[in-house]
């Protein structure tokens, strides 16, 4: 197992290299000019060109790429073209809100989605099943920002239970931290809950048809242990897979959620960087997200071995 983990981690290196090359090339050929943004609307073309030269953006692709790779090999993601801050500092400033948002959303989603998915499968064809699947369709169909506005309307403005926007660091207290994250997590979690609930239902329906479930029932086992111990455990592999895949959804959704709730996370940093063509920041964030995604996939593979003893690496 240990050897497998080490192999998988080593295997991330070529993946990251391809991502790095791809991201750098894409940004190089993409239209847009950070120098023009920096210079402002009143700048002359000559001034913009001077800024471009001072930033080294006028140099050939290979020169810029090799310099970037060299820095990367020294764990240096460079500095933001705009803020002049190290990209690592900017990511560090933003990682806590995004991590908090995604973790709470993940926990909330799993806690809600798995039981309702199981319930829907158990009560398949009933009103409860249809209501849960109706909610799932709603979660898939309604954009995150619409849910966000609706939640803010009722719970922040009308009921005044929670703040409209912002983020309070965990270090300033658990309650204020949580207060700022409840609405964004629900908004972001809707689609995720829908996805996991549907997969849980579908997988459970299949498992509940198995002979060993019939045997368990024939033995007179109670419904709860049948559902949550016997059936759910065997249905877990696809569910865990979907949860893993869903991390990408969360990262994408965080971009919108962070904008709607003014949370200073990596999602907003990504959008700002793209709009301004802040190349080092975009490259740093995409590499980070890729690395996280590779790690999540590795984690999912390892979880398989815990829930299904037949799987061995």
């Amino acid at each position: 197992m240990f050897a497998y983990v080490v192999r998988r981690i080593i295997a991330t290196i070529p993946v990251m290299a391809v991502v790095a090359l791809f991201v750098f090339s894409l940004l190089f050929i993409a239209p847009g000019d950070p120098a023009a943004v920096i210079a402002g609307d009143q700048a002359t073309p000559e001034q913009i060109e001077r800024i471009r030269q001072s930033l080294g953006l006028d140099r050939p692709f290979l020169v810029q790429f090799s310099e970037w790779v060299w820095r990367l090999l020294h764990f240096d993601l460079g500095r933001s073209i705009f803020t002049n801050l190290p990209v690592t500092t900017m990511i560090a400033q933003r990682i806590e809100p995004t991590l908090s948002l995604t973790l709470i959303t993940l926990v909330l989603s799993v806690i809600v989605a798995v039981p309702i998915g199981v319930l829907a499968a158990w009560k398949a064809g009933s009103f409860v099943d249809r209501a849960i699947m109706g909610f799932a369709v709603f979660g898939f169909s309604v954009p995150v920002f619409v849910i966000g506005y609706l939640l803010a309307y009722f719970f922040a403005l009308e009921l005044e239970w929670l703040p409209v926007q912002g983020y309070t660091p965990f270090a300033h207290g658990f309650v204020p931290w949580l207060e700022n994250l409840i609405l964004p997590s629900i908004a972001l979690g809707c689609v995720y809950i829908a996805l996991i609930a549907r997969i849980t239902r579908a997988t459970m329906l299949e498992v509940l048809q198995q002979d060993y479930i019939r045997t368990a029932r024939a033995k007179g086992l109670a419904q709860t242990p049948i559902l949550f111990i016997h059936a759910l455990k065997n249905a877990s592999v696809p569910i865990v897979t979907v949860i893993g895949i869903g991390i990408a959804l969360l990262i994408g959704g965080a971009v919108v959620t962070e904008s709607v709730f003014a949370i200073p996370g990596l999602g907003r940093l990504t959008v700002d960087a793209i709009l301004r063509r802040d190349y080092p920041v975009i490259q740093g964030i995409v590499l980070l997200f890729s690395f996280v995604y590779v790690l999540v996939n590795l984690g999912v593979d390892l979880i398989y071995t815990l829930i299904d003893p037949r799987i061995r690496y």
């Binding site: 403005l157 926007q165 904008s259």
Partner: protein, 533 residues
């Protein structure tokens, strides 16, 4: 549900809450000495010479001071300067600094700091570049005296040092001001009324300013960038909010105190909230514009440009920008900011009265236009450019032109508009923008009116008559002379269509009613602003 309806619905809760007399939640209560301000954009960098976006300038006026500052009558007034002298031949300017001025690091402001700062500024600013070209010597005579010797008189000296268009002539410590003007500074030490809390800066989210205890305000009453900049607030937190509906909700809920630029769609809701005040932000407003590429067909033919101007209905543009609020716009048959001394309508007949599409079509038929596609670049991520672009596309179609509508973002527009290649080879035919009224007061700050051909602003108009009048204006001795010159300039610019003005429009600002002292101006001035709990 359209965008406007949705935004109103989503932000409407605040109006409901206020109407119901509900108090703001405890989480929204901040200290009375902390002002939470939502700026127009993200403070992505903080070097007001290197980066000349308005948002940088607006933050910079808190941290850095200037030798002179514009008052609300657009007159330069002394700020850091105690007195000035001009030699009889107009070639030597001597400035004496006020005593006791200090930087945020405790060091005194010295003449050598002024010399270094003006040297850096004059490498980037249009007026500064003119001064640099005329400069014979810029030296510190003693700790408080600076001498600037020119080869030729420059009557607009005080205007250059006081202007609020970017980049402003901010004074920094010598060690910082010696930074290459095309590279960013890394220390944010000024002598202004607020210190920049660099440790709390999260670009894209938050910027914090703290009161500078040793700031020495002038005795005169504050007026824009002039007079005593007395800070009644200990701390200002800039909270960046990319989503207007969220900003509106946060303001209504008391989570922020002052919003610099609420979008017009949300203003009716804010006005209904009894805890929120709404007023015009900047009386100098903005001038909507699209620029045509004078280098390539079809707009290298003045007949085509004039045909477009003849068909252009400014009301259509302004309605697209500000909706039904008639107090927010006015027609602009000229190029200079309405309500300011140099405003002129000379030559503006082409933009006045009922639009004559038939005459415009006739003129277009007489031109060299042969139906080639017009590459119309429209940045979709800027509401002002998007609204104008949609109107222009319709205008060109009505006129019978073949429109190649390029929907893109502002970053791409910024790059593409700099390309001088023909439209079919990556270049462009027209793009949309707007100019702050404060940048259209006179030719010195108005880069968009310049017509120096390939050295001009994007579109590269080449109109010698315009440039002659610009040069005449710099030499003008009094306001009457200036007005006469500007009238000729305005006419020449409209005759050759340096660019197409689409109208003059204003924007709002909004704040909680427990905030007082907020004025109107081209910058959200924080001095004199106070807050009650």
């Amino acid at each position: 549900m359209d965008r406007r309806t949705f935004l109103k619905a989503s932000a409407g809760a605040g109006a409901f809450a206020a109407a119901g007399g509900l108090s703001a939640p405890a989480i929204a209560q901040g200290a009375a000495k902390t002002l939470r301000f939502v700026p127009q954009a993200n403070l992505a960098n903080f070097d007001p010479i290197w980066g000349t976006q308005y948002v940088v300038r607006n933050a910079a006026v808190l941290v850095w001071d200037t030798l002179y500052g514009f008052d609300e009558n657009l007159k330069p007034q002394r700020q850091m300067v105690e007195s000035e002298e001009t030699s009889s031949d107009g070639l030597t300017w001597t400035f004496k600094l006020r005593p006791g001025l200090k930087f945020h690091d405790g060091e005194p402001v010295l003449a050598k700091d002024v010399v270094a700062s003006l040297t850096r500024w004059s490498s980037r600013d249009t007026m500064g570049l003119m001064l640099k070209a005329l400069q014979q010597e810029l030296v510190a005579v003693d700790d408080r005296t600076v001498k600037w010797v020119l080869k030729k008189p420059y009557p607009k000296m005080l205007l250059a040092l006081a202007k609020n268009s970017t980049p402003m002539a901010f004074i920094m410590p010598e060690r910082i001001a010696k930074t290459d003007p095309f590279k960013q500074i890394e220390e944010y030490i000024g002598s202004g009324p607020m210190k920049f809390a660099k440790g709390e800066w999260v670009p894209g989210a938050k910027a914090v300013f703290e009161k500078f205890a040793d700031y020495k305000p002038r005795d005169e009453k504050a007026s824009w960038l002039a007079g005593g900049k007395n800070m009644l607030i200990d701390r200002i937190e800039w909270v960046v909010m990319p989503d207007p509906a969220t900003a509106a909700a946060a303001l209504q809920n008391g989570e922020v105190d002052w919003w610099e630029n609420p979008i017009t769609d949300l203003v009716p809701l804010l006005k209904k909230n009894r805890n929120v005040a709404v007023d015009i932000a900047d009386p100098l407003g903005n001038i909507g514009a699209f620029r045509m590429n004078h280098l390539h067909p079809p707009f290298n033919d003045v007949k085509v440009r004039r045909a477009v101007l003849m068909a252009l209905d400014q009301e259509e543009y302004m309605r697209a920008l500000v909706g039904d609020d008639n107090s927010l716009w006015k027609p602009l048959p000229g190029y200079f900011t309405p309500g300011t001394p140099l405003y002129s309508e000379a030559g503006g007949e082409i933009l006045k009265g009922k639009r004559d599409l038939a005459a415009a079509k006739k003129l277009l038929a007489e031109s060299s236009y042969k139906g080639e596609p017009v590459t119309c670049i429209v940045a979709q991520d800027q509401p002002i450019t998007k609204a104008q672009g949609d109107v222009t596309a319709e205008l060109l179609k009505r006129l019978g032109m073949n429109v190649d509508f390029v929907a893109t973002d502002w970053g791409t527009t910024g790059q593409r508009r700099a390309l001088k290649s023909p439209p079919g080879q990556g270049g462009w035919g027209m793009f949309h923008t707007w100019h702050a009224g404060a940048d259209c007061l006179n030719p010195a700050v108005y880069i968009a009116i310049r017509a120096t051909g390939e050295k001009a602003w994007f579109g590269w108009p080449d109109v010698p008559a315009v440039e002659t009048e610009v040069n005449n204006w710099f030499e003008a001795k009094n306001l009457d002379e200036e007005k006469a010159i500007i009238a000729r300039l305005n006419k020449a610019a409209l005759d050759s269509v340096v660019y197409a003005p689409t109208g003059f429009f204003l924007t709002y600002q909004a704040w909680r009613k427990n905030i007082s002292g907020i004025g109107k101006g081209p910058i959200p001035f924080a001095w004199g602003v106070s807050k009650t709990a």
